[in-house]
């Protein structure tokens, strides 16, 4: 099957109100072409699951600034003051999650694991409403998996089968979210023919990827 799509067709799969996971860390490894297309198409009321909300002019930050987001699940919102402002004005729901817990919740979501136990957050506000389980006298929080309707990932090199290589620190949450969503769109910095990407370098196997869009910078 042909996974290559133009941006208009690919973004047509994203509907108002969907739960969308977006890769990247402070904008690095975030697929900007999808962000821009969501803005252009007027898609709104999204629930975003991501490490952070980018910067006001970069990455997920642009979605927040343009009021396309209803709820954010993230570990950090400090570099985008607009997220905090909307949260304080109750225009936006923000659920803050420790970064390692968020990564593992997404990993579980994509791996068929029903939850996991972590010491992170015990005795803090993070434990509110969660089950505490003691194992061998250590107390843990039970954290549950996270899944999404759509994952938007950014690949440095993508072959036409959807195999993805992420350069350097652009990898971050991208391979995790690629496994945890019903539909996975990759924005490719470079698209190569099948066979050109060394199988040893593949970080997200193409079986996870539904559609590939070129033109990511």
């Amino acid at each position: 099957m042909n996974k290559l799509k133009d941006i208009d067709e690919a973004i047509g799969y994203i509907k108002d109100g969907m739960v969308v996971m977006i890769g990247g860390f402070m904008g690095v490894g975030t697929p900007e072409i999808f962000i821009d297309a969501i803005l252009e198409k007027g898609i709104k009321d999204l629930t975003i699951i991501a490490n952070d909300t980018g910067l006001p002019h970069r990455g997920i930050g642009k979605l927040v600034v343009n009021k396309r987001v209803k709820k954010v699940i993230a570990s950090h919102i400090g570099l985008n003051p607009e997220t905090g402002r909307q949260m304080n004005n109750q225009e936006l729901i923000v659920e803050l999650v420790p970064q390692g817990t968020l990564a593992e919740q997404i990993r579980c979501g994509g791996s068929g694991i029903g939850g996991f136990l972590t010491e992170t957050g015990v005795g803090t506000i993070v434990e509110e409403g969660k089950r505490k389980i003691a194992v061998n006298k250590t107390e843990y929080l039970l954290e549950l998996p996270l899944k999404a309707d759509v994952a938007l990932i950014r690949g440095s090199v993508v072959d036409k089968q959807g195999n993805v290589f992420y350069n350097a620190s652009t990898r971050n949450f991208n391979p995790l979210i690629a496994a945890a969503a019903d539909l996975v769109l990759v924005a490719a910095e470079k698209i190569v023919e099948v066979g050109e990407l060394d199988p040893n370098q593949v970080m997200t196997p193409g079986i996870f990827v539904d559609y590939i869009v070129g033109g990511e910078k």
Binding site: F25, M26, G27, V28, G29, N51, D52, L55, A74, S75, H76, I77, G78, L79, G84, M87, N88, V94, L96, P98, Q99, G100, T101, A103, E104, I106, R107, T118, E119, T120, G121, V122, G123, T124, I125, V126, S156, N167, A168, S169, T170, R171, N172, F173, N174, P175, L176, M203
Partner: protein, 219 residues
Amino acid sequence: MEVKNEREFIARRIARELKDGDVVNLGIGLPTRVANYIPEGVNVILQSENGFVGLGSEPKEGEINKDIVNAGGQPVTIKKGAAFFDSAASFGIIRGGHVDVTVLGALEVDQKGNLANFMVPGKMVPGMGGAMDLVSGAKKVIIATTHTDKGAPKILKKCKLPLTAVGKVSCIVTELAFIEVTPRGLVLQEIAPGVTLEDILRGTEADLTISDNLKIMSV
């Protein structure tokens, strides 16, 4: 040696706590500066929670690689022998006890080793990022902080702000003192040159035991 200011003094003192071969995660801000003062002959491996070990120095002009940033989103370099990984592996390293030392800042720290450093309700809510996992998972947690916030003690009997983690702090390094957290409470181990015990007690709300072996801080 000339130490320019108190932040440099704190960073220099913490750098002396690092041992050859340690895997170390430095928080953003003052803790980041510890990397500038690691003693010669001590090679530590710096971890960056956005997904690599082998963090190097700031890039020189023309050396910037847009794909290599630290956990604050700033461009950095990597050293020979560095390795990249995804965020789940990165926090497996952190929670799994593979980080020997983490250095983090504090809004408040208390005599039970509790730390508050990620939010001031209603005012500043940037989120915990990786701090909760780091404080829970690292073998040694060093707090780098000015002793007071414009005269108001930051080393308290009991933290008032929302906690980052409970009972995980190993030691506190300020421009005035090196304080160890022990099961019996805080022990003043070192005082900065030219500082009196009265200066320290005035700026500290927590109960302090003074070590029998009290030393002058050396950087």
